[in-house]
């Protein structure tokens, strides 16, 4: 009997510590400037829940370019906009792509979040079938948003990789009751930062062979399909959409992209998005080669310039109340 009481006591202590941890994480875990690479369903749900109860904000959706690959969180265009007073949230992540944008938009709808505006990054690279994110949802979005997608949409996507049975059992058992376990990846990123991919000091064109596909884009392209759906959903909710073509390093990628088909694909996308009511900024050639780390990832000064361009575009949406000073990005709240 005494032994059982002791075991019960130890269990009670465990429950008390876990409850304390849950409270501490819920109360004090920060809203990250950008999502962790393997952001968790628990963190995303927490962010969406917070966003639903907050005044409408501009939502930024993109891939590693907007996420800020190889720059610090505070140096990304989204963080610069936020620091200047723009009420905006960056939901970009390293493997962002149109199917993921759409999944996020569906989640916004589910949480009754009506963004003030939607800023979309359109990267031709992600519309290439060879791209890893072409038809793949981030595991967290696959968990949370896949049930919200229609059967046709789901059929176009690759099923997410399944964890082993033990890991799945552990996740399903522990995540609902232990926030530290559920948000372990986000906590790790907060403590140690997000490890970037291997640094390429002097990128050479051969590294990008096959990255850009010059097959003529059509509405059958999975990326194009989800891009359309994303914009349609936003416009149906009355949310203004600003889409911009990802800045691309034409000097580095000259042999792959400086061709009529690439330009044709760009025009196709522009026409498609404008037809659906999005305001399109073509930034494909707007940045010099020395403003890039590699094919598309921008250095800190270029991130600042991108922030200024987005700010200008947002300012043109009359209801945003933003006044842009080209000398210094500034916003009126």
């Amino acid at each position: 009997m005494a032994r059982i009481r002791l075991v019960a006591f130890a269990l009670a202590v465990t429950v008390a510590i876990v409850a304390l941890q849950n409270f501490a994480i819920a109360a004090f875990f920060p809203h990250l400037d950008r999502l962790a690479t393997d952001f968790s369903p628990a963190y995303l749900e927490r962010e969406l829940g917070g966003l639903a109860n907050a005044p409408a904000q501009t939502i930024i959706l993109g891939d590693s370019v907007l996420w800020g690959y190889r720059v610090r969180p505070a140096e990304t265009a989204a963080s610069i906009l936020a620091a200047q007073g723009c009420a905006c949230r960056n939901f970009s992540f390293k493997t962002g792509s149109p199917p993921n944008y759409y999944a996020l938009v569906r989640l916004f709808q589910e949480y009754r979040i009506r963004p003030k505006a939607l800023v979309l990054e359109v990267n031709q690279k992600a519309l290439n079938e060879a791209d890893p994110a072409y038809r793949k949802l981030h595991p967290t979005l696959a968990t949370l948003a896949a049930p919200l997608l229609g059967g046709g949409d789901r059929a176009m996507l690759e099923p997410p990789p399944q964890p082993g049975p033990f890991e799945r059992w552990l996740d399903q058992t522990l995540s609902p009751m232990w926030l530290l376990y559920a948000m372990r990846a986000d906590i790790r990123t907060t403590l140690y930062g997000d490890p970037d991919a291997v640094t390429v000091q002097h990128p050479t064109p051969d590294l990008y062979e096959g990255t850009y596909d010059l097959t003529p884009l059509t509405e059958k392209n999975v990326g194009v399909h989800f891009l359309e759906e994303t914009v349609d959903y936003a416009r149906a909710a009355g949310v203004p959409v600003i889409a911009f073509m990802t800045p691309t390093n034409h000097v580095l990628l000259h042999e792959f992209i400086d061709s009529p088909q690439y330009r044709k694909n760009g025009l196709f996308l522009r026409g498609l998005l404008e037809k659906r009511g999005a305001r399109v900024l073509d930034l494909d050639t707007a940045f010099r080669a020395d403003e890039f780390f590699d094919n598309a990832h921008l250095r800190p000064p270029a991130q600042r310039r991108l922030a200024a361009i987005i700010a200008r575009a947002l300012a043109r949406i009359s209801h945003s109340g933003i006044a842009f000073d080209p000398q210094r990005v500034r916003f009126q709240k």
Binding site: F9, L180, R188
Partner: protein, 477 residues
């Protein structure tokens, strides 16, 4: 398999369950031998990578059998030299010509500790001190004991035999509780305390720069010197706690390796409290025989104390050299030897100058005692500089600080350690009276709460870090 890790605990649990089927000596030995071999196979399956280790074991076993049958001094000497040479060769000591090294990667993990056990068996077989002839299964069970394979503790054969097959340790409720506590506390030391101390140490090393003001520089240098011994202690004693606790579940009793080393009042005392089993081994097989042989050769009572100093120096020089294969460890050995040698000379001189009674009374003085404690700690920290740094780093520190600042840093560590360690010990003694967490007399609920809290912290940190199991410094030796 890394020790300590959750995999290791799972493995040990499985072995404990199988061992529990029968208490018959044959069953216990068979299961332990199978477990030892299974444990080693987790490092590599490649027979080529296991071959050198197996060769050392075979050489050792042949040596034991030879000494059991043929006790001749020349054969014994040749055998010891052969074993030592094989060990130095396989461990790639820098004084061995590089052309002789084996041209492929092979298992060396745990080799030092296995070597100590093998040499002990050979020497004891020669001296007829073994309780019984060593059979091949007993040999494998003892030398490859998986609970202490990686980094000790080094157990003598007859002590191992006692709980292995003759009289397994009792596994009742209190001993299970204590073993569990030991594992949790050990894991906490290795997985939480030691990485934090290592981070702090790295931060202090990084903060040492010429740009820093004088006071900051000396303070950081003092912290660099002072943090590492604590890190090493948390790391190694944590590992030892885990393996001693784990072995208890197999009804094996492993010897203690640490006994509050930082309360030592002299460098000689320190080695009776730090890595105790290694010190004991060297005292048994190096210090005592060497001293005895020198005393026989120089039988003058006036020389005798100085022979003790010399033998202390040699023994501790060997401890330093054992730690690594490079010249840095020769310097470490010299510093350790110098520490114990100077300590012995000081004791002799003080006894001569003050007389035994007055010297004992001086040792009982709290200020003297605290300063002795501080000096012992500071010398350990200083010696360990040669343990963790590279020659380049060491040169950088010397250039950065200069002789005056180095002396000041050392003095600061002596004073700070004297204060911190003395008060720390006083607090620990008080806590033992108020809440004796490491005593069976403490309330079980308090102990349960303490251990559960530590366990939850370990699991939480492990979950968040998602890192490989913690690194054990002594695994490399």
């Amino acid at each position: 398999m890394i020790v300590p890790s959750f995999e290791f605990l799972a493995f040990a649990t499985a072995v404990a369950l199988v061992l529990g089927i029968s208490a018959k000596p044959l069953w216990r030995r068979s299961v332990l031998v199978a477990a030892n071999l299974g444990f080693i196979l987790t490092f590599t399956h490649d027979p080529l990578q296991l071959a050198p280790f197996a060769m050392l074991l075979v050489l050792g076993f042949a040596g034991v059998k030879l000494m059991e049958a043929y006790k001749r001094q020349p054969a014994f000497a040749v055998l010891v030299v052969a074993l030592l040479s094989a060990f130095c060769w396989l461990k790639n000591y820098s004084f061995v010509p590089h052309g002789l090294f084996l041209p492929f990667a092979y298992l060396t993990v745990g080799m030092s500790y296995v070597f100590f056990r093998v040499l002990h068996l050979v020497i004891d077989a020669y001296q007829e001190s073994l309780p019984a002839p060593v059979g091949v299964f007993a040999y494998i069970s003892y030398t490859l004991n998986f609970t202490s394979f990686l980094a000790g503790p080094i157990q003598f054969y007859k002590d191992y035999l006692r709980t292995e097959s003759q009289q397994p340790a009792v596994l009742d409720e209190p001993s299970v509780g204590r073993a569990l506590e030991r594992i949790i506390v050990g894991f906490f030391k290795v997985a939480i305390v030691s990485p934090l101390l290592l981070l702090a140490h790295a931060a202090c090393v990084a903060a040492l720069s010429t740009d820093a003001p004088f006071a900051d520089r000396v303070l950081h240098a003092a912290l660099v010197l002072a943090i590492f011994p604590f890190y090493l202690y948390a790391n190694f004693s944590g590992y030892t706690d885990v393996v001693i606790g784990t072995a208890r579940f197999l009804r094996l009793e492993l010897p203690e390796n640490f006994n509050h080393p930082f309360v030592s009042k002299s460098f000689i005392e320190l080695w009776t409290r730090w890595h105790i089993t290694l010190s004991l081994w060297l005292r048994t097989y190096v210090y005592s025989p060497l001293l005895l042989s020198l005393m026989r050769r120089f039988p003058s009572p006036r020389v005798e104390p100085w022979l003790g100093v010399l033998v202390y120096f040699i023994t501790f020089f060997l401890i330093g050299v054992w730690h690594g294969q490079t010249a840095m460890f020769i310097a470490l050995g010299l510093l350790l030897g110098l520490g114990v040698g100077a300590n012995k000379i000081f004791q002799l001189s003080m006894t001569k100058a003050l007389g035994r009674a007055r010297y004992r009374s001086l040792c009982g003085n709290p200020v003297y005692s605290a300063l002795s404690c501080g000096l012992t700690f500071a010398w350990l920290g200083f010696s360990l500089l040669w343990f963790w740094s590279t020659p380049g780093q060491l040169g950088g520190f010397a250039r950065l600080l200069g002789p005056a600042e180095i002396a000041l840093t050392f003095l600061l560590v002596v004073v700070l350690a004297a204060i911190v360690l003395t008060f720390g010990e006083k607090i620990r003694e008080r806590l033992r009276v108020v809440a004796p967490l490491d005593s069976l007399r403490s309330p079980p609920y308090l102990r349960a709460a303490w251990c559960t809290t530590l366990a939850v912290i370990i699991v939480s940190v492990t979950v968040v870090l998602n890192a490989p199991a913690p690194h054990i410094v002594y695994r490399a030796f």
